[in-house]
């Protein structure tokens, strides 16, 4: 497929996602109130406009990028949005606002980050920002505790979860740091008995970053994020060094940490006990997960139909348990469609990583994709009892501004890496970016004003 045909594919798929969302919206309204929502036309126009805006931004600023990532995200976003409107009118209004902000953030990221490799230079900035964001909820007066997890920050009327953004910043840091030192780490010149380990000084910053994140989040009782960060770290280290030893070390570290927290923290112990036997804890801490399983079971093959189930019986269904609501009303078919969407996003993201030529972009794409794939697995698995439940949002689907905005930023970065690769491998002419055009224009003007032969002659941009 010609790289430019990708954009037409993307447009078609994005419109399809929009139509599916609008149809689901009508069905949910019919199911719930037996009326066609009066605002369907403005809703459809606004939503499709928003998606087409995102598509146009991609077409202008990342025209060589993968064609499936944006439509898949739009699809998940749409299903989540319909579920939220069906669950709670008040939250629906907020989620609409967040959708606009999220698409805005997507476009802004594409504008700000015009060349993926540039990001590597700012790795320490990302580290400091990421670590700082993780610390913010602990600042007295700013941090808030919701549902036992101390991961929220309130600034004026806005609540947000800095951890959602920290995960991207830390992925950027890991990618930048590991691409630089991966050979040194992989060389492993430090011998301990039969083991060859990297020089501690190369590994130390990464270990420190990981330990810091994990400790902070355990302190904030945010187990889902801890698990996500840990996985991200191990996966990126493994991919960067190409040494399976790090997976083994990671597994041992994880096992140790998990066991320690199980022994030390009552809330970790609770989660595991609920996972093993939620039934006997129905009237207590197991209520949410049991109600979630009732909802999933009730969905059966075809589901109760949008607006016709009772997902509101599940506490916090719009956040962590939105997948249970989808499985109830859309059944096995709809829930599988959501699973498939994530599998396809993971596939597309890792294809971007494989196609990428530069290690930094490879690592970044791998890290970002792993974030989405693992996060979705952790929460869906938690809801349907494949793994212990740890509170975390379902990317693009759950209610929540921070999550939606952060995941669209993440998507924009993936799109940017994908586009960079297309240019790099020559599928597309590597046109100058808008920033570069602007710099060139400024330079040309300067040269015109001050045509000194001593400078500027070697700098030029192909017309």
């Amino acid at each position: 497929m010609h790289p430019l045909a990708r954009r037409s594919t993307e447009l078609g798929l994005v419109i399809m996602a929009g139509v599916i969302t609008a149809a689901a919206y009508v069905l949910a309204s019919l199911g719930k109130n037996a009326t066609i929502p009066p605002i369907i036309v403005p809703f459809f126009v606004a939503m499709l406009g928003l998606l087409i805006l995102a598509h146009l931004a991609t077409r202008v600023m990342a025209r060589g990028a993968d064609a499936t990532l944006l439509p898949l995200a739009a699809m998940l976003h749409g299903i989540g949005y319909v579920m939220i409107t069906r669950l709670n009118d008040h939250l629906a209004g907020l989620q609409t606002l967040w959708s606009f902000i999220a698409i805005g953030a997507y476009i802004a990221t594409l504008i700000v980050v015009q060349r993926a490799p540039d990001l590597a230079r700012f790795k320490w900035t990302f580290f400091v920002l990421g670590a700082g964001l993780l610390m913010v909820p602990l600042v007295p007066g700013l941090g808030r505790s919701v549902g036992g997890a101390h991961i929220w920050v309130r600034v004026g009327p806005i609540n947000f979860q800095p951890g959602e953004f920290a995960k991207i910043l830390l992925a950027l840091f890991f990618a930048g740091y590991l691409y630089e030192r991966r050979e040194l780490i992989a060389a492993s010149t430090w011998h301990i008995g039969p083991l060859r380990l990297p020089e501690p000084r190369h590994l130390l910053p990464v270990l420190f970053a990981w330990g810091f994140a994990v400790v902070v989040m355990v302190g904030q009782k945010d187990l889902g994020s801890s698990l996500l960060f840990f996985t991200l770290f191990v996966v990126m280290l493994w991919v960067a060094t190409e040494r399976a030893l790090f997976l083994v070390i990671g597994a041992v570290l994880f096992g140790g940490a998990a066991y320690m927290s199980f022994r030390l923290f009552s809330h970790v112990k609770d989660r595991v006990n609920i996972w093993i036997d939620p039934w006997s804890r129905y009237s207590g801490k197991g209520y949410q997960i049991v109600q979630g399983m009732f909802a999933v079971g009730d969905g059966g093959l075809g589901g109760a139909g949008l607006g016709q189930g009772h997902p509101n019986l599940i506490p916090a269904v719009q956040n962590d348990f939105i997948f249970a609501g989808i499985a109830e009303e859309l059944g096995l078919f709809g829930a599988t469609a959501v699973l498939m969407s994530f599998v396809l996003i993971v596939g597309a993201g890792l294809r971007v990583a494989i196609r990428a030529e530069r290690p930094f972009e490879k690592l970044l794409a791998t890290g970002l994709t792993a974030l989405i794939g693992v996060q979705a697995f952790i929460i869906i698995g938690g809801v349907i009892r494949v793994v212990p439940l740890t509170g975390i949002t379902l990317p693009f689907v759950s209610y929540g501004g921070s999550s939606l905005v952060a995941n669209y930023v993440l998507l924009a970065l993936l799109i940017r890496v994908s586009d960079s690769t297309s240019r790099r491998i020559g599928e597309l002419p590597d046109d100058p970016t808008i920033n570069e055009r602007y710099a060139a224009w400024k330079l040309r003007r300067k040269i015109r004003k001050d045509p000194s032969p001593t400078r500027g002659s070697g700098i030029g941009v192909a017309p």
């Binding site: 109130n33 037996a34 996966v235 493994w238 991919v239 960067a240 190409e242 039934w279 129905y282 049991v290 399983m293 009732f294 909802a295 999933v296 079971g297 009730d298 969905g299 059966g300 093959l301 109760a304 016709q308 189930g309 009772h310 509101n312 019986l313 499985a327 059944g331 096995l332 829930a335 599988t336 699973l339 994530f342 599998v343 993971v346 596939g347 890792l350 990583a353 494989i354 290690p359 490879k362 690592l363 791998t366 792993a370 794939g373 693992v374 697995f377 869906i380 698995g381 349907i384 009892r385 494949v386």
Partner: protein
């Protein structure tokens, strides 16, 4: 690095396969197990989210229906009872937390559209998205029901009007009643409190006293005793009974008295019309327990009435063992005191049987069930329950009951409009022991016109504090029966 990325892809795919497998387990394999979990309320909730059909009266008034709830309600439909308390004890109620009663319970499948016949008929319009809920049409006439309510007023008691020829119940009202709308509110806790209060109120407003309660019948029971005497040739119209104030049965020194110790006697028509006690006490004692018990059983006393509403009461006379070596007890029971308990509906059926030439029809309140398009699903065919007496006996009883109206205990109050002749029997069941303030159930059961009966009625006023005489039942309950018969005769159901 590509090798590792591919392995990562495979690992993540495996994770998602695990999710897919578990999803299949929950949604397909363990689905029923999850649905059967006692904590899972979704199945019941689902029923509450479906529309539910209406209950209508014979004249087409909707007395129970479902309308979409206000937005944001936890259930999609709100059950309504537009006539408030008027039909509460026929429709019953339908609640999420406290179950259903009466027609709402018995005809739940029709109302939800889940009978196999309805499912079958709905297949053709599977795509047109119309609901297939059924309608239950009662034999009750809303106008008669309202007249019954007005006539009874705020006196505890029951009024039953039926068609003696078919067994169709045309009105069935008891006071106190209740407003079922207050029980079907979607606030389960509040509904529970209301229901608890209703159930605790005196007079049992949530019970349909007309068929779920039974009361001592007093002299109205003499219809049964007389029929047994006639059928067994113990006496006939030519028999005479001694003129006496009291009679001392064997095995006791306590005399049985007539009302207010009056001198009472004469031929059968006279003692029946005046409602003397001693002749029937003597007859019962003379016939013995075997004959009396067998005779009452022919009237269905002691048996479940084959009525189409659930939870009915059984009338009672007693068993042969109850009366073994207890002739005084048998004698007293023979004129409707002591052991006897009669369901008001069955009292109406006594008059109906006499009116219907000795054939007792099965009583029913559901005329037909209709599907979502108004086509008949099931129509009740009138059926004979029992034939307690021969037509000749019925004719004599008819004549005796006419006598009650012409010159007996109902003379005061049962002279119908337009000179139509009614036939009746009154009853005054003494509840107080000797020396206590007088308290009685006042009864009347009647039918009209006497020569070609169309309507039968039974009225009971519970535990009234009034002077007890042979005329109490007729004086208190009679006017209500007259109102019912007058109205029904003047207003036949349009189109029938």
């Amino acid at each position: 690095m590509n090798k590792q990325i591919r392995r990562l892809a495979a690992a993540l795919l495996l994770c998602y396969v695990a999710l897919f497998v578990q999803l299949n387990r929950l949604q397909v394999v363990k689905r029923d197990e999850l649905a059967d979990n006692p904590n899972n309320t979704r199945a019941v909730l689902r029923e509450f989210d479906k529309p539910r059909g209406s209950i209508i009266t014979a004249d087409g008034l909707t007395i129970a229906d479902s309308v979409p709830s206000a937005p944001g309600d936890k259930y999609k439909y709100q059950r309504r009872y537009p006539a408030y308390d008027l039909f509460a004890n026929l429709t019953g109620y339908y609640t999420f937390a406290y179950g259903a009663t009466k027609v709402e319970k018995k005809y739940n499948d029709v109302l939800t559209g889940s009978t196999s016949e309805q499912q079958l008929r709905a297949i053709t319009n599977l795509l047109s998205n119309t609901d297939n809920t059924g309608t239950v049409k009662l034999t009750i006439r809303s106008d008669l029901q309202f007249v019954a309510k007005s006539a009874l007023g705020e006196r505890e008691g029951s009024v039953v009007v039926m068609d003696p020829r078919t067994g169709a119940v045309l009105a069935m009202w008891s006071w106190p009643s209740f407003d079922p709308n207050q029980v079907v509110i979607h606030d389960d806790k509040k509904a529970g409190e209301v229901l608890t209060l209703f159930n605790a109120l005196p007079g049992k407003p949530t019970l349909n006293n007309a068929y779920q309660e039974r009361y001592m019948p007093g002299s109205a029971f003499k219809i049964v005793t007389t029929s047994i005497g006639l059928e067994n040739h113990v006496f006939d119209l030519t028999s005479t009974f001694p003129n006496e104030t009291e009679w001392v049965p064997p095995q006791t020194k306590n005399p049985i008295q007539n009302y207010q110790g009056e001198l009472c006697g004469g031929d059968l028509a006279t003692v029946f019309a005046r409602s003397c006690n001693t002749p029937f006490a003597r007859a019962g004692a003379q016939m013995g327990a075997d004959v009396m018990v067998a005779g009452t059983q022919k009237w269905g006393i002691g048996e479940d009435i084959p009525f189409d509403l659930p939870g009915g009461a059984k009338s009672q006379f007693g068993t042969v063992d109850d009366f073994k070596d207890a002739i005084p007890k048998l004698a007293i029971s023979s004129f409707g005191q002591d052991n006897d308990l009669i369901v008001p509906l069955q009292m109406a059926m006594f008059a109906s049987t006499v009116a219907n030439g000795g054939v007792m029809m099965q009583p029913y309140v559901v005329d037909e069930t209709l599907d979502h398009e108004g086509a008949t699903l099931d129509k009740t065919t009138p059926a004979v329950w029992k034939t307690p007496i021969a037509p000749e006996t019925a004719a004599i009883l008819n004549q005796l009951m006419v006598g009650v109206v012409q010159r007996g205990t109902a003379k005061c109050c049962m002279q119908l409009e337009n000179g139509i002749q009614a036939a009746a029997k009154t009853g005054t069941a003494q509840l107080n022991a000797l020396g206590q303030p007088e308290r009685s159930h006042a009864w009347i059961t009647a039918f009209a016109p006497a020569d070609a009966p169309q309507y039968a009625v039974a009225v009971v006023l519970k535990g009234v504090n009034d002077e007890i005489s042979d005329g109490t039942g007729g004086r208190l309950a009679g006017p209500i029966a007259k109102t019912m018969l007058d109205y029904a005769l003047a207003h036949p159901l349009a189109g029938s």
